[in-house]
Symmetry: C2
Amino acid sequence: MRIFRLIPAVLLGVFFMPVVHAQSAADSIVLRRMADDILRKNAAYENLRFLCKKVGSRLSGSAGAEKAVIETARMLREAGADTVYLQPCMVPHWVRGAKEEANITLSNGKTFTLKAAALGNSVGTPAKGISAHIIEVKNFAELDNLGKAGVEGKIVFYNYPMDPTNVATFRSYGQAGAYRGNGPSMAAKYGAVGVMIRSLASNVDDYPHTGATRYNDSFPKLPAIAISTRDADYLSEALQKKQVTKAYFKTNAEMLPDVQSYNVVGEIRGTEFPDEIITVGGHLDSWDLAEGAHDDGTGCVQSIEVIRVMKALGIKPKRTIRAVMFMNEENGLRGGTAYAEQAKKENKKFIFALESDAGGFVPRGFGVSANPDQAAKIFAWKWLFQPYGAGDFTSGGGGADIGPLKPLGTAMAGLSPDSQRYFDVHHASTDVFEAVSPRELNLGAIAMAGLIYLVSEYGL
Amino acid sequence: MRIFRLIPAVLLGVFFMPVVHAQSAADSIVLRRMADDILRKNAAYENLRFLCKKVGSRLSGSAGAEKAVIETARMLREAGADTVYLQPCMVPHWVRGAKEEANITLSNGKTFTLKAAALGNSVGTPAKGISAHIIEVKNFAELDNLGKAGVEGKIVFYNYPMDPTNVATFRSYGQAGAYRGNGPSMAAKYGAVGVMIRSLASNVDDYPHTGATRYNDSFPKLPAIAISTRDADYLSEALQKKQVTKAYFKTNAEMLPDVQSYNVVGEIRGTEFPDEIITVGGHLDSWDLAEGAHDDGTGCVQSIEVIRVMKALGIKPKRTIRAVMFMNEENGLRGGTAYAEQAKKENKKFIFALESDAGGFVPRGFGVSANPDQAAKIFAWKWLFQPYGAGDFTSGGGGADIGPLKPLGTAMAGLSPDSQRYFDVHHASTDVFEAVSPRELNLGAIAMAGLIYLVSEYGL
């Protein structure tokens, strides 16, 4: 019998496995029932169709965002939520204004039009636009080397491609994102008059990708545009051949006063621990160039689907589940901030939050940020997700909107869809309903419903 | 010390792991180098663009198939294959003829046009088409219940949808496929005059999906068409409401005499064991309705990419690698059969064959059919594929074209791409270049190159 005392962990693991699995067999049946219903009803896809085609783009402060609040509240009621309410927050109101213009003049006298889009939050140009010499830099080090002497009075063109060799495309996005976020102010520091960036896109095509820039108040605010990756390649080649005499662009962007907006919350009250709150959400706002299908219509309709499928199957969660359509993720995070502020005032435990904001692609698993005990509990469930292709649980993850819950000690997770196609369409006019596969969307919803169910059943 | 004798497997596993990983660390670097090159060069995608846009559809016996032979031979030479040659095979030559027509007449006298495509290998209708009463059956049991009394002189409409609840879409395809394959002869047995089937598609849209039917020579050969899933739903509803007075269709399909065609083979000769042959391939023929992008242009260009990346990086495989573009997978398997016939005549060992014929989607892993020792060896490599999202190795797999190698004792594997979107486009006019993601295609090529490299290095 000595052996049992020496290696209990190994052997107990083996002996107890059937018990663990007997417990979990019931869970696997619940997940299977939810999966069947989600795949058969295809309700998330139909909600997404409405959000994309009948509401459309939903930039914070826009009429589309306002309509999206009303329509997703309706969807949550129709999904069967016990309570649906709006949570107020003031949001920035940036407008693109009339369509941008951009071109370069070549040494042969001809003009080449660039497909461009103003960066979100950026200021507009003077009415006559900006016309100046243009210089290309590959990165901030090159900009620093040029210094004031090389930059002053010029348009700076940041041409930093997303690294194709990262399998995790979000890593490449993060690297290249520095130029969209900080590029304008870094160029302003050296006296530049305007900024162009290569679109943050994983493919070479003709669609500019917008997204937020962040001005550093120490420097003048420069107008800034993204140009399509194909045009970035063209411009770079023309500059190398010294064929570009000047560049021009005009934008009509403007930051207007903040306006009233809302998060939309739909709740199923927990039967045993109603004061333990589980949050599941996506963000309702989108950029203005397209329908915000993958970013983040899919996360919204998947969160609604979690509510719908539980109600449809008569599942009564022990803990309270809140599906939240967060407002203003893209250029302010006011919704996520307001949600956490309200949470601090409630005398409840916000035990877990899950966000889907990486596209409605086929799920691979979840990224989890939690204390070791909570993480161990969550990771022990991963075999339940393998039948749905979503068994890849990794450490670290969450979402921008649920991030402000961190001081409350909330355990967090982010759905991890496959990321290969996301940055083809992200923040561009190609992020439309047609780019979403219903089956991929539904599998993501299944994974989310499964994880929310397990947390609601067993707590953390 | 007693414990070591009692539980050696557990502890040796732990102790030996560093050694195994030291060996494999070198392999992981080779895989990483191949991955970087494949992702940077994007050569598979450019070859696919050519195959789809400059060659187009490639049904066996067609001018497109002939051109595809010439062009992929060129691609293999440009990829750096030591030897490129054509392997003759006679192939069936089925032609669709002029575009099909199909409609139903409603009780209000109106005609509703059905979007239809003749099934591959099917016979044509008489010149005036077929006009008859139509009956719907959900499955063969319903057909049998109707019997001769209910079926004779009628058109049989098989309306068996792909089951949406199978996460593995190939399972649903296999189930529904029985009606495309056997439906015409089963209906002929009871005296039907023609057959319509619901397209084998996972989505509801307006595109008919063709594919091979197989006549049983004991019964008359009935003309047979597939109609779009949306039209199948419409027809079913109209039949339930007893609104359909008759159905009509006309096809001009015809099986012509066999014609000469070829497999295309590109080879890198092994440095140490040149007589151990590793086969990697896809099929070059496609259906005639589209560009055969996912089915199976992607498998072809991925196989060429295996050759290209090894040559580009100066990797000299110890065993001989053959990239094979198999002809006539879709309606005859003559290419795969010819390859195996030739293999039997060669005094060489065909140790391993890998096929990619499940679409150019993001890879999940491989399905492996091998003896236990070989399988254990292959499965031990799977951690090397996890960084590329392709670490899901499962038992059972291969491909139609490599199947005939089985009597030679060849170990087999099939690339397992994610299957969620495949049956949206499979065999339909929507299977075009634009439906392929370059990054997903490249990750598949990386997984294939990695597995081929490991087998070439270590044998089986």
